[in-house]
């Protein structure tokens, strides 16, 4: 099938066929780099896959596997998850765990059923309720166990999710524009190189 006119862009002297850009963006969200592989931009696809997922996995490991969970309960509004979910499929188990935890928590007392065992040994499961600031709850235990690793793990996974938003944009619309200051400097360099190549004219 011939590439559609609107979906072909020229960047750095190369023609790039973005193919079905909506599908590419969806794939890029689901698995970082997958949208680019679908578009045939293999080098970039592999680079995104390695950079983003390794950052995300490293953060997840630093935080002892407890930094990614979906929760919007009093005392535990995990807003970080919205950003961590930028990496797509890797963060989705947290939604199921969050839903199950909510189902096993009494809405009146706000306390989780003590007999409840989260799936997969608690992988991406929210903490048991109640979670209260400055109380010795499960979140406090995670912090105590991992120290700075818990904070760093949270930021690594958040940054990985944010980076993937750039990648999704790149899959959908092609590379972002280089800032004007960067372009100017590049033009100046090119001019200087051209002058050097020409040598003294008079």
């Amino acid at each position: 099938m011939a590439p559609e006119e609107n979906n072909t862009i020229a960047v750095d002297g190369q023609l790039v066929d973005l193919r079905n850009r909506h599908l590419a963006a969806l794939l890029a969200w689901l698995i970082p780099g997958a949208g680019h592989l679908y578009q045939g931009r293999r080098t970039k696809g592999r680079l995104f896959f390695v950079c983003i997922l390794s950052t995300w996995i490293l953060g997840f490991a630093l935080g002892g596997g407890h930094v990614v969970y979906a929760s919007w309960q009093p005392g535990d509004k995990r807003w970080h998850y919205f950003l961590q979910a930028g990496v797509g499929a890797a963060a989705l188990p947290a939604l199921l765990q969050g839903y199950e935890m909510k189902r096993h928590t009494d809405p009146f007392t706000g306390e989780t059923d003590r007999d409840y065992e989260p799936y997969w040994g608690g992988f991406m499961a929210p903490p048991f309720r109640p979670v209260m600031e400055s109380e010795a709850d499960e979140v406090a235990a995670w912090y105590a166990r991992r120290g700075a690793g818990y904070e760093m793990g949270t930021w690594y996974t958040v940054i990985a999710g944010l980076l993937n938003i750039l990648v999704i944009y790149d899959a959908y619309g092609g590379p972002l524009a280089v800032p004007i200051s960067g372009r100017k400097r590049e033009d100046e360099r090119e001019e200087a190189a051209e002058k050097e190549n020409r040598g003294p004219s008079d």
Binding site: D12, R41, C51, I52, I159, P175, G182
Partner: protein, 63 residues
């Protein structure tokens, strides 16, 4: 001078590599340009953080 162990600074290394490469690759298609952009981004961010670090050290020394 530092209130944390200097080994904590190692957390910065994988992060800056990933951020720089993704920044470069979301602005170019050519591999050479991607790497050059990544290098410049990494240098800029490190320099910026370095300046902040020096300013904070100076303020700490003043007090």
């Amino acid at each position: 001078m530092l209130s944390i162990s200097p080994t904590y600074l190692l957390y910065y290394v994988p992060l800056i590599i990933a951020i720089s490469l993704v920044f470069g690759a979301t602005r170019h298609e050519d591999t050479h340009l991607i790497l050059r952009h990544a290098w410049l981004t990494g240098r800029w961010i490190t320099g910026f953080m370095g300046v902040i670090f020096v300013v904070l050290c100076f303020l700490d020394w003043m007090t």
